[in-house]
Amino acid sequence: MSSFKGETIFASGPHVFAVGAVGSQAVLKTALGSSDPGHTVLGALDLTVTVTGRLTAADVPGLDDLIAAVEAQIDVPPKSGTLADNDGHTWDGMSFVTFTPRGPVRKGRVVSQAYEAVFIRLPA
């Protein structure tokens, strides 16, 4: 079961993990004010893991509680912890950066909210 800092904050509904690009951050020199062609490598990309899914509850107060529990894990400035997916992969030193609801709260058989949560391994 997935977790962040040991808390199973996404367990109420289906969710998937996607690992972002790995490698170097290369930017066009022109983007940095230079008139030279080509790229400049700034350094290694920060590891990014994006969780997309849907929180589900029996009613609106229940969903509000779930959202509050997720938001409680977001610190400003971010504090890192271990992120674990549903398949046993773990990423240490991840910071919970953003939680973005996608679309309105849906009220059907269950009350649900689609979301995107972004975790980044920020430099120490």
């Binding site: 289906p14 993990f17 059907g108 649900s112």
Partner: protein
């Protein structure tokens, strides 16, 4: 729900005579579907946006509807009665506030022309089922 030969059909204050059938169809407009990490199959389906469509088929036997009785955009309570037998036992009244969204006609050689009136049901508050079925034994 599909009712053949409903006993009496009324839209607002207008009676719709010679109705041969009323279909009450429901569908999810934008189902919520989600997949997890476990495999290829969808693990959550919900129907947060639903539509109830009613289709009234009315034989035209030389009795045209009065003007305004089936006007596009008109909203009123559609009400009809049905019973499982010729007696009043089990008789029910089906009613729904609905808006007329289409009027068309069908004709097959040898049969009476049929007016097809399409409506979409409206819920009072978004949470209540727009179609109510009530006992109406007499």
């Amino acid at each position: 729900m599909f009712v053949l030969n409903p006993e009496k059909v009324q839209f607002g204050s207008a009676a719709w005579p010679n109705v041969v059938s009323v279909a009450v169809d429901s569908a999810a407009v934008q189902p919520a579907e989600d997949w997890g990490d476990g495999g290829p199959w969808c693990v959550l389906v919900d129907c947060p946006q639903r539509r109830v469509a009613l289709t009234v088929k009315q034989e035209l036997r030389g009795t045209p509807l009065p003007d305004g009785a089936a006007e596009l955009g008109a909203q009123a309570e559609l009400k009809f009665y049905t019973s499982p037998s010729a007696s009043s036992r089990g008789r029910v009244r089906v009613k729904a506030t609905a808006v007329i969204t289409g009027v068309s006609h069908e004709h097959r050689v040898g049969a009476a022309p049929v007016r097809v009136i399409e409506l979409l049901a409206v819920s009072a508050d978004g949470a209540a089922d727009p179609v109510a079925v009530e006992a109406a034994e007499v």
